[in-house]
Structures are given as C-alpha cells and as structure tokens.
C-alpha cells in the first residue's frame, strides 16, 4: 500500500488531523460524542437566529435557484439518468474486467459522468449557504473545529493567535474519499489489524459507539470486503481491487437478488396454477399505490411491454389484441419456429 494511504490510515486510527500553520502545529481531533451532542445546540441556536433574520429555508431555495437559472426540473431528471448510466457502465466494467483497454475506456466515461453529476449537484447546492440550514450547519462546523483543535501539548488552541478559517480551509483539502477508505480497507496493515481485532474482540481499543466518523466508515468498508471474500460467488482478486468493477459486481448481485425476490412475491400472489401460468396476470388493486406495487412486479421487459401496449391502445382508442406489437412479434417468432420445424421434419 502506498505510503500516502498509510498516512491516512494512522490519521484515522489516531482520530486527529495534524496541521501546520507556519511554525505552529495544530491537531484537529475528531469530535467526541460529548462535542457532537453539544454541537446540535449550536446548530439550533444558529438556525433560530437565521430564521428570525428572515433567511430562506432550504425548501424555498429551489424557486430562487430556478429564477437564477441554477436549477430546472430537468437537472433532477439528468441526475437520475446519470445515476442509471453510471450503474450500467459499472456493470459493463465488471463484465469486461479481463479487457483492460475496454475497462480504461469505461472508466474515462465514468469519470466524465461523475464530474457532470457533481457539477449539477454543486449548482443545486450553490445557495445553501444563504439558507437557515446552511448557516446553522456552518456555525456548527466552526464550533466543532474550534472545540476540537489543540496544540501539540494538548492545550486548547488560542483562536486570537490563528485564524479558524485557515484551519478549515486546510481540512477541506484533506478530505478522505471513499476510494481512499476502500484502498485502506482491503490492504495491510489495516486488513491484518481488522482481522485480529475481530477475533480478539477489541478494535481500536474502544467500543463501536465511541468510534469516530472516519473509523466507523473504515470499519463499514472492511465489513463490506469481508462479505465479498466470504461470498459463494466471490469475484476474483482483480475485480476486488478495482472499485468500479467491484461496484459492478455489487449491482449485478443486487439485481439478481431483486429478481429472485420479485419472483417469490409473484409466486406468492396466486396459488391457482391456471392463473399463475397465464401470460397476463391481473391482480386486484385497491388504490394507485397498490397498483404501482403490482406493476413493480414486472421486470424490465414486462414494463416495457405494458408501456408500449398503453401507447398503442391510446393511439388507436380500441384495438384487437392480435394487433398489439408484442403479440405480433410473438406470432412472427412462433411462425418462424414452426416453419423451421416443418422443414426439419421433412
């Protein structure tokens, strides 16, 4: 593992960030539960203050974003679309993991999509700082940093001698990303520490409730890798080491699970074999909500067939079922198959 990751690992284990401000060395500790508990009071006070100073609530910001052309409903759709595209690309990366060139090309597309998505999200959040919630969250963050920063000897930082904004700016540049956590979680020395900690029952020398946010996140990723290694369909090491390919594997597993779950739900719907084996099954729904749940039982092909049928029926007003496109396709396939069988039978 690269030394930079080891540096991050020990930062996580120690639960603090070492910052150099000129000659001054400061430690910003991860907030303890006492600090976190108190910080919410700071949040509430700041929120009320902002509210009575007539700042906007977050839910009202969308209107302003819209008028300033920073957001349109299309952006939300675009985010969803990008989510889907990213998911599909990750699955493709998983399925093509043996072809490094293809994977590299997929990764380029992935990074482009992720950048596009984060740009839209940044635009949507661009006015958060003028909202009550944004102001209160900022006040809370400043308070936490103030309460958790100390000198090398452990004494509290004197904020008259240094600027808290500088400290926060340095901290912002030292965020730990999910890819860092994943790299650390699947490699030694942390992996060995994790395994030993699990068998001895003591990890990081404290109970889970006392873990810092970063420590909790690292343990979550470690547990995720445990599940991958123990899976009866364990992917090979190359896939495990590649975050995008492994995400693709997760998506494939999730889709498989959802398909199985749907199949079980469908089988439980009717015990009547005649109805269960019918081409079209109509299940009684008492409301639009239950109707939506029933429609969710369909897989992608089923949904698409319903959608196409609806469009066709809507256009025609009324329609002989033999004229439905899917029925005609089935008839064509059946005709071809029967024709083939007839020729073969001669």
């Amino acid at each position: 593992m690269d030394i930079s990751y080891e540096k991050i690992l020990y930062r996580i284990i120690k639960g603090r960030l070492r910052i150099k401000l000129g000659d001054l060395i400061l430690y910003v500790r991860e907030p303890t539960e006492d600090v976190l508990e108190e910080s919410y009071e700071v949040y509430d006070d700041a929120y009320h203050k902002a509210y009575f100073n007539n700042l906007f609530c977050k839910k009202d910001l969308k209107e302003i974003l819209f008028y300033r052309e920073l957001w349109t409903p299309e952006d939300d759709k675009q985010i969803e679309k990008l989510d889907k595209q990213i998911e599909d690309l990750k699955v493709e990366a998983y399925k093509s993991h043996f072809d490094r060139r293809k994977v590299q090309s997929i990764k380029r597309h992935l990074r482009n999509f992720e950048t596009e998505q984060s740009e839209i999200r940044a635009r949507i959040k661009s006015l958060d700082h003028i909202s009550c919630e944004g102001t209160a969250e900022f006040a809370r963050s400043v308070w936490i940093v103030g309460a958790c920063t100390s000198y090398q000897d452990g004494s509290k930082c004197d904020w008259t001698k240094c600027n808290i904004a500088d400290v926060m700016s340095i901290m912002g540049g030292k965020n730990i990303y999910p890819s860092d956590f994943r790299m650390i979680a699947r490699n030694d020395p942390w992996r060995a520490m994790w395994m030993i900690g699990k068998t001895t029952g003591s990890l990081l020398g404290k109970c889970a409730a006392q873990f810092t946010v970063n420590q909790t996140q690292l343990c979550t990723y470690s547990s995720m890798y445990d599940n991958v290694y123990e899976s009866h369909e364990r992917p090979n090491d190359k896939i495990i080491e590649d975050d995008d390919c492994l995400d693709g594997w997760f998506i494939v597993q999730r889709r498989k699970y959802e398909k199985d779950r749907k199949q079980q739900e469908v089988d439980a719907l009717t015990s009547n074999p005649k109805i269960a084996n019918s081409q079209e099954v109509f299940v009684m729904a008492s409301s639009q909500e239950s109707a939506n749940e029933i429609y969710d039982l369909n897989d992608v092909v089923g949904r698409s067939t319903i959608h196409n049928r609806n469009a066709q029926i809507e256009e025609a007003g009324n329609l002989d079922f033999r004229k439905l496109h899917d029925i005609q396709t089935d008839m064509a396939v059946q005709g071809q198959q029967e024709g083939l069988n007839k020729i073969r039978g001669r």
Partner: protein
C-alpha cells in the same frame, strides 16, 4: 402460443355481463375477485412450395383466448352464475351453452393518483365457460375459480370517446355492444365504489367455520369418519377440505365460409368430480369385495353460510380413495375420497342485490 414473459397488471375491477350489452352497471361487477389470468393461443399453418426455400404463406388460424377468474365466496353473485346468466342453477347443458362478455379494467401504471376511471379495459367477447372449481379448506378462504374461453379480445382506452360512447366493434364481432364499461358518466363509472373504501363482503368471506355441514349431504363413508363431539354435525366429520370441479372441454365447430367457429360445444358427458380430504380416525372404511359390486350411488350437496349450494345430484360414485401420511414424521393420516358423476352440477347462491353502500349511491 407459449410465451415465457408474464405480465402483471393492476386490476381495478372485473365485470361479467350479458353478451353484447352496452355499458357496465354495478350488478355486473364481480365482487371479491382475487386475481385474473389471461392467455391466448395462436395457431399458424405454414405452406411451402417446391423450388422456394422461403415460406409460401404463413396462415393464421383462429386464436383461442382464455380467462381464468378466482374469487372468494362472500355472498355476492358467483362467477359461474354471472357467466351463465343464471343457467348454472338449472343444469350443465344450459350452462355450457351460455355466453357472456368479460371486461377487465386496469389501472394506469405511471401516475400517483387514482381517479376511479380505468385506463384501459380488456374486453373479451362471447366467452363460454370452460371449467369451474370450488374449494373449501381449513387453512384459507373458500374460493371459486372459473375459466372461460372464446375467440375475441379487444383493448379499449377509456380516455377516448371511442371507448365509451361509440360502437367500435360493430361489424367486427357478431354481437357488438354499443358502449364499453361506462355508460358515459365517468364520475359514476361502476368501479367508483372500489376506490371509496366502502366495499365489503356481503356475508363475510367464507372460511372453515362457515361451511354448513349440518345442511350438507355428504357420502356415507365421509360421514363415517366421525368424531364424538355431539355439538357438531356428524360428531365432527374431521373434513380438511372439499373441492368440486368440472371441465366442459369446449370445442369449436367450424364451417366453410367463416373464419371463426360458429359454435362451441361442451364434450358431453361432462365429468364432475368432488374430493373430500378427511383426517383418518379408523382407516378408509372402504370395503372391497371381488364377489359383488362394492359401490352405491351417493347424494352430494355442499352448503355454506354465504348461501352457496353446490348440488352434485344423487348419482355420485366413489372413483378413488387414497390414504397418506401417518408416518414416523408425526404427520396425521389423511384419506382423500374422490367422487364423480356425469353432467350434474347445479350451483346456487350469491346475489348482487343490496350492494354494499357505494359513493355512486350517495352522490
């Protein structure tokens, strides 16, 4: 045609009505429906010619459509009764000839509001009853399942005036209705009550406790599996399930000059079967002698508290007995007695009068 893909629709209501009747009123709505299955089968005939590898003509024969509806027995009109316009109360011959229209209304799949107006209606015209089954068991609701077959199926979009007012099928099928589903007032269409939450079973859904064994007429051997509880009919007959079923085996009669069949006929004699599953108290109690006939005619009539009466006549004979269970696994020994008769099944009970209060009635 065997298609692998199953499509699930959210069903708003099912109506069975007189063939060619315009619109749907509330008495045509089948209450207590659990699920509906629909299938279609196409027959294609390939013709080739010498000197050409490509097909000469792929000829489409008449398509068979099938609809199976299952409902709980709840005091409302039975499916068989609605599908045969009451002929099921007379005899199987009359019931096998009856035709009806089956309409299945479906919900929209994309929007988050329920208006009470179905998006599409699947209209199956001129359907014959193909099979009927009734089931009473100790661990569930009493159900009725009816399969109907026919050759005409149309889909209607209810958002268009064509679907509600005009007669789009005139000239397309023999007996075309002058309107589909609603008589035009979409605010008071027949499904409105379903969305109001006021719909409730008329007699209560029939469960094990609602099977009226006291008034039922059961075969002697079934009654013989009695207990000693004098408070119950036959001392508690230990019956676990009763199922009655029949298959009409409807077949087409074709004629020259017509694409579709001009008639469907039931393949008489029609066997009606009735099965009783009983917990064994003292063996199956069936004596078999090689020197003389062993069976006698039995009268079977099943009653429930929803008013359903399944009359299988007086000439039912035991066709098989199976004894199972009672093994080292600790399971109970059960005996299944199968009786059969030919051409006798009268079904009474259930009514759509005095419907549950509906918004339609109060608007």
């Amino acid at each position: 045609m065997a298609r692998n893909q199953r499509i699930f629709y959210a069903c708003q209501a099912v109506a069975i009505q007189e063939r060619g009747k315009a619109g749907v009123d509330r008495t045509s709505i089948v209450q207590g429906v659990q699920s509906v299955g629909m299938s279609s089968t196409f027959t294609l005939d390939q013709v080739f010619e010498l000197g050409q590898i490509e097909i000469y003509e792929n000829i489409e024969q008449i398509a068979d459509v099938e609809v199976t509806i299952e409902k709980v027995i709840d005091g409302y009109k039975l499916i068989y009764d609605m599908a045969t316009a009451g002929a099921c109360k007379t005899d199987l011959v009359a019931a096998s000839k009856s035709r009806s229209d089956v309409l299945v209304a479906i919900y929209d799949d994309g929007v988050s509001h329920a208006t009470g107006v179905p998006r599409n209606v699947c209209y199956n015209s001129g359907m014959y009853v193909s099979s009927v089954a009734y089931s009473y068991s100790v661990d569930g609701n009493a159900t009725e399942s009816v399969t109907m077959v026919g050759n005409d199926r149309f889909w209607f979009n209810m958002g268009q005036p064509n679907g509600t007012q005009k007669s789009p099928l005139a000239g397309v099928i023999n007996v075309a209705p002058t309107g589909i589903w609603s008589s035009g007032n979409l605010n008071r269409n027949p499904t409105y009550a379903f969305n109001s939450g006021l719909d409730a079973p008329k007699s209560g859904v029939v469960r094990k406790v609602n099977v009226n064994l006291g008034d039922s007429k059961l075969p002697y051997v079934v009654k013989s599996q009695r207990g000693d509880d004098t408070a119950f009919a036959y001392g508690g007959a230990h019956i676990q399930s009763i199922s009655v079923s029949t298959d009409f085996g409807q077949e087409n009669i074709e004629e020259l000059g017509r694409f579709g069949p001009y008639h469907r006929y039931a393949t008489f004699p029609i066997e009606v079967t009735c099965e009783f599953e009983v917990i064994a108290t003292s063996g199956d109690l069936v004596n078999v002698s090689g020197n003389a006939p062993n069976l006698s005619n039995e009268e079977i009539e099943i009653h429930d508290e929803a008013g359903t009466v399944l009359n299988l006549g007086t000439k039912n004979k035991l066709s098989s007995v199976s004894y199972s269970g009672g093994d080292t696994g600790g399971g109970n020994a059960t005996i299944t007695y199968s009786y059969s008769n030919f051409n006798v099944l009268k079904v009474n009970g259930g009514s759509n009068k005095n419907f549950a209060p509906s918004v339609d009635d109060t608007v």
